[in-house]
Structures are given as structure tokens and as C-alpha cells.
């Protein structure tokens, strides 16, 4: 590779510009969260924390945050649990129609979220049930399950079957083998899958807007209803909090999983 050739420099500049494009909206939200002005966007007139203070005093936003956190955590736990079981079936066993079933379980990725939103709501309507937290939860589990499945499967392929067979031949039963051998080896993928599920659930808006009610608002739904008026510094402040939260989580998760995998090679 000619590292200093003209072509390579152009590639670097191009890549840099794409980064600018991708990050400008994110950076601008964080900067404007400190904008003291009530109306208009730029120019900024100093730096102020007043919108963060206002956020902390807004009970409906705090409630939305609690809803989002509970929903995201429950989604992550359930999707990861059933995702691990399915991944074990796909990687460790042979059975008929394997590929078809795999495609079926991954299909939520390829089905437009708007259709999924309508479909689940319609089903609920037919069952004559009101919208509730449970609807959000099961909907988010379906949305996140394919991602968890993919991440756990990819890791499970790399764990040799021999380890499990060794444990079994030493007298461990299936559950003990899983708890003592497979689970610790799988832990980084479980953490990664769970975190991914959490952030997808925490950030989801397209389908969630169909399922949420006034009592079960999540943070993105709250932002959406605030946007009805117009963009305000308060939304930017809320956005900044969301960004810090959802970006810090995977970074922490990546760090933890690297530590775990180093401890147990």
C-alpha cells in the first residue's frame, strides 16, 4: 500500500467527511443541550444547565425514563434467555427443517417494523385486550430476539463441543455441563447480546409508537410528543442524556466482556 499516495489521501478525506456527516447531528444535540436560549437555535449565548435542571423536575420525563429502563432490562433478560436456548439447538443439534426454522426466527429483521406494530396491535384488538406494558414487552422481545440469536450463535460456533463432552464423560449432567462449561464460555456473547437488546428496546420508536399508551410512554415516545410543538432546548438536553446513556452502556459492556474473556480464555 502506498500510504501517502494521492488516492489513499482522498479516501481518508472522504471517510473523514462521512464521519462528519454521521456525527454532526449527535454532536450538535449535545452542544445545544447547554444552550440557555428558549427560542431559536444558533447562535448560542453562553452555557447553561437550566434545561437539565428542568428535565430533572419534569415528572413525566422521569417516569418515561423509568419505563424505558424497566422495559429495556426485562426485554434484554427475556430475549437473551430464549435466544441462548435457540442458539444451543441450532449449533449443537441436527434436526429437520433447521434452515427454515432459523430463517423464521431471524425474520423479524426483514419485516418492516411498521407492519409488526400494526400486526401485534391488531391481534391484541381481536383478543379484546387493552394496550399495556406487557404488549410493549412482548413486542420488544420479538424485535430483539434475532439480534441476540445471531450474536450468541456466532460465539457458540467457536466453542468446541469437546469441552462439553469432556464434562459429560466426567459425570456432569446436561444442566451442570451448561452451568459450569458452556455458560462461562458464552458469557461475553450473552452480555453483548443482552446489551444490544437493551439498547434496541431503549431506542425503539417506530413500533413502540403503535404500542405505547399515555401511561406507558418510553423516552423516545416522550421525545416524539414533545416534538409536536417544535424543537426546544429541553429536547436537546433529553437527547444528550439519552446519548450518553446508550453510548456508555455498550462501551462498558465491551470493556466488561473483554475482561471476562481475558480471565477465562
Amino acid at each position: 500500500m502506498q500510504r501517502f499516495s494521492l488516492g489513499w489521501n482522498l479516501i481518508r478525506i472522504y471517510t473523514f467527511l462521512v464521519y462528519v456527516f454521521l456525527f454532526a447531528p449527535i454532536v450538535v444535540v449535545i452542544v445545544l443541550a447547554f444552550n440557555p436560549k428558549q427560542f431559536g437555535i444558533f447562535p448560542m449565548e453562553g452555557i447553561s444547565l437550566r434545561w437539565f435542571v428542568k428535565l430533572a423536575q419534569n415528572e413525566s420525563i422521569i417516569e418515561a425514563f423509568q419505563n424505558s429502563l424497566v422495559l429495556g432490562s426485562l426485554t434484554a433478560v427475556i430475549a437473551t434467555a430464549i435466544g441462548i436456548l435457540a442458539a444451543l439447538a441450532f449449533i449443537r443439534f441436527e434436526f429437520p427443517a433447521k434452515n427454515t426454522i432459523n430463517t423464521l426466527l431471524l425474520s423479524p429483521i426483514m419485516i418492516p417494523e411498521v407492519v409488526l406494530g400494526v400486526a401485534l396491535l391488531l391481534f391484541l384488538r381481536w383478543l379484546q385486550q387493552p394496550k399495556s406494558f406487557v404488549l410493549l414487552l412482548i413486542g420488544h422481545v420479538v424485535l430483539t430476539l434475532p439480534y441476540v440469536l445471531l450474536i450468541v450463535q456466532a460465539r457458540l460456533v467457536g466453542i468446541k463441543k469437546e469441552y462439553e463432552e469432556a464434562a459429560k464423560s466426567l459425570g456432569a449432567n446436561a444442566f451442570q455441563t451448561f452451568r459450569e462449561v458452556t455458560f462461562p464460555l458464552l458469557l461475553p456473547a450473552i452480555l453483548a447480546g443482552g446489551l444490544f437488546a437493551f439498547t434496541i428496546s431503549f431506542d425503539d420508536i417506530t413500533a413502540t409508537l403503535f404500542w405505547a399508551t399515555a401511561q406507558n410512554q418510553t423516552v423516545p415516545v416522550k421525545i416524539f410528543s414533545m416534538l409536536r410543538n417544535s424543537i426546544s432546548p429541553e429536547i436537546n438536553a433529553l437527547g444528550a442524556v439519552m446519548i450518553v446513556l446508550t453510548v456508555a452502556t455498550p462501551l462498558l459492556g465491551g470493556y466488561l466482556s473483554r475482561r471476562f474473556s481475558r480471565a477465562k480464555p
Binding site: Y19, L22, F23, P25, V114, L122, R125, D204, T206, M242
Partner: protein, 288 residues
């Protein structure tokens, strides 16, 4: 191993029942509902009639939205390839110590809420937004000019959302190329550009096409960018579904539009799978 036969099914039971009861059956309901009648009272009457579909194709109003959706999806796909290939190639060839950091950064937008990234374009392109502010400051214009609420801003929002998917798909496919092939091409006298054109580019096409399919499907199924960044004339098919179901509570018609959207995507995905194979798409999520 005969006694093992039930085991995979036991492991699969929770996830299969989740997908069956929460996805397959509800989607079947949408199909059934699309044939129902809507009474003036607002109640839905079970029926088997094609009135909802006839209403869609009655005049040009609805088909125009469908065609617009397809056109915007193609534009998004094209722009994502143009904007995404070079960064993916950069990650593949870069020998920088910070390569991992660059890659992590391109994934970062995945973790930032879609609605925040979308609405932030208002901060940038609004009347008192960043671009107008800068242009006025340097004296190019006196009064702010409006850039928002048209198809261009909708495209910006869509690309912002989908570009990381494209970059990742292309990168995964580039990473799979044996670098010794490139060395061989160079040894045989190819220039850097020829080696790229004859070796790298063709071998990376599976990733490009997987990215294209993913971006197309996701574009066709989203309503947020047109809703937040578009004007009245920029609605896409998903906006129509949202308005009919949540706005006017017209379930049968909303279901019929959903079925039309699903059929369109099904034809595209089926054709793609038939000629190219769908599994490439899932690879990009397994990386790291």
C-alpha cells in the same frame, strides 16, 4: 442418539412460540383484516371483499405514495453505496493503530436513538440552525433560507439512519477477501487501481448487495424521517399506514396497505434470496 430427538425442540420451544404467536399469527390477522369492511360507526365487519385494495388503486393518490416510497428507497440505497463503500474500504486497507477505534465509531450511531439523530437535522438545517447561522456569519446570505421539510431532508435523515448498516455489510465482505489475492494481482503487474477493479471490487459485491437489500427493506418500512423532516408531499407508505391505523383508526384499510407493503418487500427479498442468498445479510450482525 435416538433419545436426543426431542431436545432441540424443547430448546426451540420458547423462541418458536414467541415468533409464532407474536409475529406469524398477527401478520396472518393483518391479511384477514385487509378483506374486512369498515362500518360508518367505526366498527369492523368480517367480510371477504376487495374493497380496501380497490380503494388503494382507485385513483393516483395512493399508488403515487407507493411509487414515491420505491423511488426514495432506491435513492437511499444508491447514496448509501456511494457514501459507504469508501469508508468500508478505508477500514479494510488501513494499517493505522486506530483502525479499531474508527470501526467502533462507525457503529456508534447504532447506539444513539433514531429519533434524536433524526430530529437533530432541524438543529443543523433549520432557519436558525447551524448551516444558516454559519452562512449569515460569513456574509453569504442576509436572511436564512429554508432547507427543511422536503425530500432532500428526508433523504438526509434516511441516510443518517441506514449508512452504518451499509458500511458494516461492505466491510464484513471486504474482510473476508484473502489479502494474498491482492498481492498476487500486484505481483502480476496490476496497478493499485486495476487490482481493486479486478479483484477487490468483484469479491466485495456480495456485501454490497446484502447492504442494498437491508437498506431498501428498512427504508420502505420506516415513517419517522418523512414525519419529522418531510413536508406534506413527502409521505411514504409507512406514514400512510401509521395515519390510517393510529390517526383515523381505519384498521381494514391500514391492513390492506400493510399487505401491499409486505408483498412488495416479499417479492424483492424472495428474488434476492433466489439469486444471491439471504445469509450474507445476517453476517454483518455477527461481526466483532
Amino acid at each position: 442418539m435416538k433419545s436426543d430427538k426431542w431436545k432441540p425442540w424443547a430448546l426451540l420451544a420458547p423462541s418458536m412460540s414467541a415468533v409464532l404467536f407474536l409475529l406469524v399469527i398477527p401478520v396472518c390477522f393483518v391479511v384477514v383484516y385487509s378483506f374486512w369492511l369498515r362500518a360508518p360507526s367505526g366498527a369492523d365487519i368480517p367480510a371477504f371483499q376487495l374493497g380496501n385494495y380497490a380503494k388503494f388503486f382507485e385513483d393516483f393518490f395512493y399508488p403515487r405514495i407507493l411509487i414515491r416510497t420505491i423511488r426514495i428507497a432506491f435513492e437511499t440505497v444508491l447514496l448509501c453505496v456511494v457514501m459507504g463503500y469508501i469508508p468500508a474500504y478505508f477500514f479494510y486497507r488501513s494499517e493505522s493503530r486506530f483502525r479499531k477505534v474508527f470501526l467502533l465509531l462507525i457503529m456508534l450511531p447504532f447506539w444513539v436513538s433514531f429519533i434524536i439523530r433524526t430530529m437533530s437535522w432541524i438543529n443543523i438545517m433549520g432557519d436558525s440552525g447551524l448551516i444558516n447561522h454559519v452562512l449569515i456569519r460569513i456574509g453569504l446570505i442576509d436572511t436564512p433560507f429554508s432547507m427543511l421539510y422536503n425530500e432532500f431532508t428526508v433523504l438526509m435523515g434516511l441516510i443518517m439512519y441506514l449508512l452504518p448498516f451499509m458500511v458494516l455489510n461492505i466491510y464484513v465482505s471486504l474482510e473476508g477477501i484473502d489479502k494474498s489475492l491482492l498481492e498476487a494481482a500486484r505481483c502480476l503487474g496490476c496497478t493499485e487501481w486495476q487490482a481493486f477493479r479486478e479483484v477487490t471490487l468483484p469479491l466485495s459485491l456480495p456485501g454490497v448487495s446484502a447492504g442494498c437489500l437491508l437498506v431498501f427493506v428498512l427504508t420502505a418500512g420506516t415513517y419517522l424521517p418523512p414525519m419529522i423532516l418531510g413536508g406534506p408531499g413527502n409521505d411514504m407508505i409507512a406514514n400512510l399506514i401509521f395515519k390510517r391505523v393510529i390517526g383515523t383508526l381505519d384498521w381494514p384499510f391500514g391492513s390492506a396497505i400493510s399487505v401491499i407493503l409486505l408483498s412488495l418487500l416479499f417479492v424483492i427479498v424472495w428474488t434476492y434470496n433466489r439469486y444471491l442468498g439471504i445469509n450474507q445479510i445476517f453476517k454483518s450482525f455477527q461481526g466483532n
